[in-house]
Symmetry: C2
């Protein structure tokens, strides 16, 4: 832990929930099957900076989720352009997303607690 901002990798890099890519990708796949690059592009909807997001991160996450049995993929049948893998969520992936949702609610509450305590302390000091 070099120390968050200003040192080491990704200066100014934001700290998000660990493995946050996972529930985002699972959720997008709930809306329908998609291929990797379009999922990548959809991540800006959840706060990812697409200019800084290396595509290999997304593809590795997709592969890992497939290894875990939450999604499945098959090569599309394009006749034109590069071949694309089409990903689809499985029932196990749906269940996993339910767990993620419960866990993210708790994580949000924990962040809220710290932020509220911080803001309350700032107010009491200035009064």
């Amino acid at each position: 832990m070099p120390g968050g901002w200003g040192t080491g990798r990704g200066q100014g890099r934001r700290r998000r929930v660990m493995s946050f890519l996972q529930p985002c990708l699972l959720f997008m796949l709930k809306s329908g099957e998609a291929h990797g690059y379009s999922l990548l592009n959809g991540l800006d909807e959840f706060g990812f900076d697409l200019e800084r997001l290396d595509p290999s991160l997304v593809y590795r996450a997709l592969r890992d989720m497939e290894d875990s049995g939450w999604v499945v993929s098959n090569w599309g049948e394009e006749s034109q352009g590069p071949q694309r893998r089409v990903y689809k969520i499985l029932p196990e992936g749906d269940e996993h997303l339910v767990q993620w949702v419960a866990d993210l609610r708790r994580t949000r509450d924990e962040i809220d607690r710290l932020l509220c305590a911080y803001e309350n302390q700032s107010q009491s000091i200035t009064q």
Copy 2:
């Protein structure tokens, strides 16, 4: 990324913000100097399960923050009982906490966006 819950380390382990210990410890030190073990005990206030939280994690985080110049510590002057290090936040630590607060607000908003999208999709499906 074996896949969150059910496999690998920490079965059922929750996924929180990376390095979340850091702002929690910094905030507690804003309230006044404290020694390591009391900071450890105060972490239940922010969602940490004290029964599962290894003290070495907290002490390492404190050391890392001291290395980064955000806190300072000195050996207390107890005549009885084991010696204790007393930690104190520095102005740089205060500034770093301000950055953490801004970042945590964004992280909370990102979680909110995913949770709202998820709940909206669940409702549209059942209607």
